[in-house]
């Protein structure tokens, strides 16, 4: 599934056009444009209060946008009831009705449609079978574990035969072990039913493990909407790079500019970096802000004669300030390398061949092709959100 695909191929494609939501004085969602292809597993990712749940609730029909349109399969659904939209929502705490058995919880939608008791219970049992909960049909929600409750909530939503399933932090109520297990089940059920899933989460690894398309949000705006790999590997902005983790971000003012080298001042340091390829046309002028990122696991370390040693191009010097063993690799924190913390993830084999200790002066360097040039934060994220393939419109390092 290509998130940038414009064809309304599968059912359940969603488009937000200029959607804004205000609650009194505060603006939860600011003029958002977003297209989610049908049949896609999409994660809305961001810190709490970033507007992701508000977007979910506007698609579900539990909130109305202050401005803008919500389209499902090309049809504006603003003002329509959830059932008319063909959406179903799974609530954060599942909101299973405590007084009804699993069967009656799942059959609830059929009851509202006037289906008679025997028939709706038969349907509900079929659905329970599909989520492998048939043997719990007569239990009440309080008698189930968190993972079982989630399956019942899924069955209750899926029985409405929705085009779009909306999941509000579905895994947050579960412990770590169950979370990983249910994560896989969600993905399997999405594939089995072939409908659009929109999953709100604040956990980065959950989003990239599950999603075809990840929408990173901050302060009511979309920072990047792209495939999981693009969001992790090629973050569009410094914010996305920081939020997703796994990247070092070098930020500073351009102080010098030569043919192929840009010099930036970051903190007390001056760092020479290979200039972006001219194709991206974002060659920085002297005095401009410049941000560049590279993956922590693509940084190589070597011992330096001293902390203040001249680093050269595409390198920073500093002192080891932290070593964390992670099994197959080690997280090495380096102090005074640049304005902010700098981290290198070193494979265990390479590290233990010549183990560093805290306080050792080191040189951290990287290949020019590992550089990833970031858009400034004021850049309009929504442009990339609708254009595909994601990441392309912004400055992206080769590879």
């Amino acid at each position: 599934m290509n998130p940038g695909d414009r064809r309304p191929a599968a059912r359940g494609s969603i488009e937000l056009a200029g959607v804004t939501k205000r609650f009194g004085e505060t603006t939860a969602v600011k003029n958002i444009d977003l297209k989610i292809p049908g049949g896609c597993y999409c994660c809305l990712l961001g810190p709490s209060g970033c507007g992701k749940t508000t977007i979910l609730r506007m698609i579900a029909g539990h909130e109305s946008p202050t401005d803008g349109a919500v389209l499902i399969d090309g049809e504006n659904v603003v003002g329509k009831l959830p059932v008319e939209r063909g959406t179903a929502m799974m609530f954060q705490s599942y909101a299973l009705f405590p007084h009804l058995s699993c069967t009656d919880n799942v059959a609830f939608n059929l009851k509202t449609r006037g289906v008679d008791k025997a028939e709706r219970r038969a349907h509900a049992r079929d659905m329970l079978d599909r989520v492998r909960m048939k043997s719990f049909a007569d239990r009440l929600p309080a008698q189930l574990s968190g993972g079982q409750q989630q399956r019942i909530a899924l069955a209750r939503s899926l029985i409405t035969n929705p085009r779009v399933l909306l999941l509000d932090e579905p895994l947050s109520a579960l412990d770590e072990f169950l979370r990983l297990q249910m994560r896989g089940e969600l993905r399997n059920i999405q594939a089995e039913f072939g409908i659009t899933f929109i999953h709100v989460t604040h956990t980065q690894m959950e989003a990239i493990a599950l999603a075809d398309m990840v929408v990173v949000m901050d302060q009511g705006q979309i920072e990047q909407a792209a495939s999981a790999r693009d969001v992790y590997d090629r973050p569009r902005t410094g914010y996305v790079a920081h939020f997703m983790g796994g990247q070092n971000v070098l930020a500073g003012t351009v102080t010098g500019r030569q043919a192929r080298i840009v010099t930036i001042a970051s903190g007390k340091k001056k760092i020479d970096i290979t200039a972006p390829p001219s194709a991206t046309a974002s060659a920085p002028a002297v005095g401009a802000l410049f941000e560049v990122a590279m993956r922590r696991d693509r940084v190589r370390l070597s011992r330096a004669p001293s902390e203040a040693a001249d680093a050269g191009v595409n390198a920073v010097s500093g002192r080891v300030s932290g070593i964390e063993y992670q099994g197959t690799w080690l997280k090495i924190s380096i102090e005074d390398a640049c304005g902010e913390g700098f981290v290198a993830n070193v494979p265990d084999g390479a590290f233990f061949a010549d183990p560093l200790t805290i306080g050792d002066p080191v040189l951290a360097h990287w290949d020019p092709e590992q550089l990833h040039f970031l858009a400034s934060r004021s850049g309009k994220a929504s442009e990339t959100a609708t254009a595909g393939p994601a990441g392309a419109p912004t400055a992206v390092a080769a590879g």
Partner: protein, 286 residues
């Protein structure tokens, strides 16, 4: 630190224990005397010693001789308490739901409703009685007294419903709406069943507060007496243990009401959390 290790109880424990025992004796002692004396033999009097044991005075109570119209007063009180119960539950639930939306003047309306808790009951009854008289309407136990009693039961009912609703998760309603329920269906199939244990608590309060309500009813019940007023009348002119029998019977009714209420709440809680037995396991084999 040393005290913890020795495990000896401090002096205050014994002092407070004595105080508690005195309190229990004071609370239940006189009442127990009345219950025991109500089983006095036919020739027995209002005080100890017991002259044999019998149900004679219970019989006298229901045969309406010189004891007044006990059966009539009891029936009126039960009907009145039932009306108060229904109205208190209905109004408290609706008011509780309304107060979830912070409407303009909500705080004012709330204090207005709750203020009657601190108003002297006799004055409320007097006011209601005077109003009926001014309007030229006869005071009746099922009209003016009903209204006067509601000023007493509604604040309690509303406060209980507020507490119940503060723990009510709105996601239930949203989930029901998401599944296609209309507002009425949400109310009937989701909100009411979830609130039901709380409604039983409100009903219990409504019933028992009405059943032994005296000051507000005294000047508003019109020509016919409710039970507490009948008892009050009997204390002045009945000089037989039938009076005690009456006390025993009314207490029994109160206890039955409480047991029914608590029992049904316990039953609902149990049904919602019972460990799964063989019954459901057997069913799923089919």
């Amino acid at each position: 630190m040393q005290k913890l290790q020795t495990g000896k109880r401090p002096l205050s424990f014994y002092a407070l224990s004595v105080f508690f025992v005195l309190f229990v004796l004071f609370l239940y002692g006189p009442m127990s005397a009345i219950y025991i004396l109500s089983f006095q033999g036919p020739s027995g009097g209002l005080t100890f010693p017991m002259r044999g044991w019998s149900l004679h005075w219970f019989d006298a109570l229901f045969s309406q001789q010189r004891t007044g119209d006990f059966a009539g007063a009891f029936t009126r009180s039960m009907i009145l308490a039932a009306m108060v119960l229904l109205l208190t539950v209905a109004i408290s639930v609706v008011a509780g739901l309304a107060f979830r939306r912070r409407f303009v003047g909500a705080a004012f309306v709330f204090y207005l409703a709750v203020a009657s808790l601190i108003m002297p009951g006799l004055l409320v009854g007097l006011g209601v009685g005077l109003t009926f008289q001014t309007l030229g309407v006869q005071t009746k136990w099922f009209a003016s007294a009903l209204g006067a009693q509601l000023t007493w039961t509604l604040p309690f009912g509303m406060l209980i419903m507020f507490a119940v609703l503060s723990r009510f998760n709105r996601a239930y309603e949203e989930a029901a709406r998401d599944l296609g329920a209309t507002n009425w269906q949400i109310f009937l199939w989701v909100v009411l069943p979830i609130l039901f244990p709380g409604m039983i608590a409100v009903a219990l309060f409504g019933f028992t507060l009405s059943y032994d309500e005296f000051p507000r009813t005294l000047l508003t019940s019109g020509a016919a007496n409710t039970l507490p007023m009948e008892i009050w009348g009997m204390t002045t002119n009945v000089t037989s243990p039938a009076l005690y029998a009456l006390g025993t019977v009314t207490t029994l009714v109160s206890f039955i009401a409480i047991a029914l209420a608590l029992g049904s709440i316990a039953l609902i809680q149990w049904r919602r959390s019972r460990p799964v037995g063989n019954v459901s396991l057997a069913k799923e084999q089919e």
